[in-house]
Symmetry: C2
Subunit: 297 residues, 2 copies
Amino acid sequence: MKIGFIGLGIMGKPMGQNILKAGYKLVVCSRNAASVAELTAAGATSAATPKEVAAQVDVVITMLPNSPEVKAVVLGANGVIEGARPGCIVADMSSIAPLASREIAASLAAKGIEMLDAPVSGGQPKAISGTLSVMVGGKQEIFDRCVPVFKSMAASVVRVGDIGAGNIAKLANQVVVALNIAAVSEALVLAAKAGADPDLVYQAIRGGLAGSTVMDAKAPLMLDRKFNPGFRINLHIKDLANALDTSHEVGAPLPLTASVMEILQTLKHDDHGNSDHGAIVRYFEKLAKIELKRAAP
Amino acid sequence: MKIGFIGLGIMGKPMGQNILKAGYKLVVCSRNAASVAELTAAGATSAATPKEVAAQVDVVITMLPNSPEVKAVVLGANGVIEGARPGCIVADMSSIAPLASREIAASLAAKGIEMLDAPVSGGQPKAISGTLSVMVGGKQEIFDRCVPVFKSMAASVVRVGDIGAGNIAKLANQVVVALNIAAVSEALVLAAKAGADPDLVYQAIRGGLAGSTVMDAKAPLMLDRKFNPGFRINLHIKDLANALDTSHEVGAPLPLTASVMEILQTLKHDDHGNSDHGAIVRYFEKLAKIELKRAAP
């Protein structure tokens, strides 16, 4: 099985490297010449356009910023659709709008090209270590054929449903994460402003119904004032924009997610767009005119 | 050490029973005559007023609905303050406003009476099994003297800080729980309305950063349409009212908690006040004109 990989950014480059390490033949294409050089030095070949990639491979993986970029690369001039043979599989691992995944898949299906939407979670560290989580939408038989390729990059590969379902799961994930961070933020800032030690409050509630992976991941970083990413606020804005667009298109209002979006936008305009999303706490700290801190030891 | 217990409701009655089982002498007082009879049959004695309880014991435990009831029982006519000797300890295990705890403690301190605020989490099942979690505010030495009594009712007893800190931790807990339930609700209703199987989405995201105790406790109940309490929406409204009052008094705005409060109030007026707080999902289902369900097996 020969693989194409389009988009060698922060995530795509290490993902491509892990595919190579697993022994697959790889054809890459990216606007990032340095990354292309790195991959070809490691054994990949390169192609000038997505069309040329698709003409040579069985599976084309795309790892791009958002829906418009995926549409352009797959359906645009010199795009994947112009080079791919019938039976070829496009596995889009970008995090994009699920309705865009379905549109792209429909265009590809008209030419006999299969598609999976397969967004990931885990960020750059897990892209490097090959331990991403992949959430996949698409036909079972196409999924089954691609599992070994996904496994070369991931610790967990789950089929969630038909095309679009991978990105729906990703958006559900991002909605919950954003709201859970905001929940921890409101609670700890209230506790501190009311005169309690936020660390002791965190310790007191983490083992009960209020406990969450977000609480254990982010509360210590908030208390230590560590807001280096991690996962950037600007990226969470992109994901929530897709969640809200989807909610508007299908008719499933998300009033709390919309409020968190306003908080993220405020932080972006306060120059925190490249901070970790744990910096959501800064919004509530500013409202309360207080900063979380650990008690003196 | 002789214990007084005032308030033998759904929580107080089993808590009093567990104190008796641990071998303490117990004096009870409650408007619930049947509960008083049950406790005296099990070895307690009864007193007619909080004043008479306090005159006979070393520690007076109160377990009452909210701040006004605690103020009336402790500071009102024939209240604890009229009977308690200097050195007596009032351990209020009700969930009330932390600023009310501090006011009551200040009034008691003027007469040489000590106080702890010691709200619990875990609900009736853990009150019966004696495995509550107790979050305590107050002086370390007073806390230390009461730990054995708390342990007769609880699996976890943690001092969070000075007086009021117990209720601050409880409110922080309730803020996080309400928002985390709303987060799971928005995410799964969006997923279902967008065409994915909400159970598969739940399974796909529960192991990652979106995972939470709330998600694992409530998502299956939402999918199974089980909304019997558990923890009633009416009680969560009481706790969020105390959280919002506190936030207004200390100046720590809680915009998302305020939004969840509106959702809870809407559900109360839709006759879901006695449903489990997992019924928060019904609000979003109504907006999206859909109900979560499991896929046919």
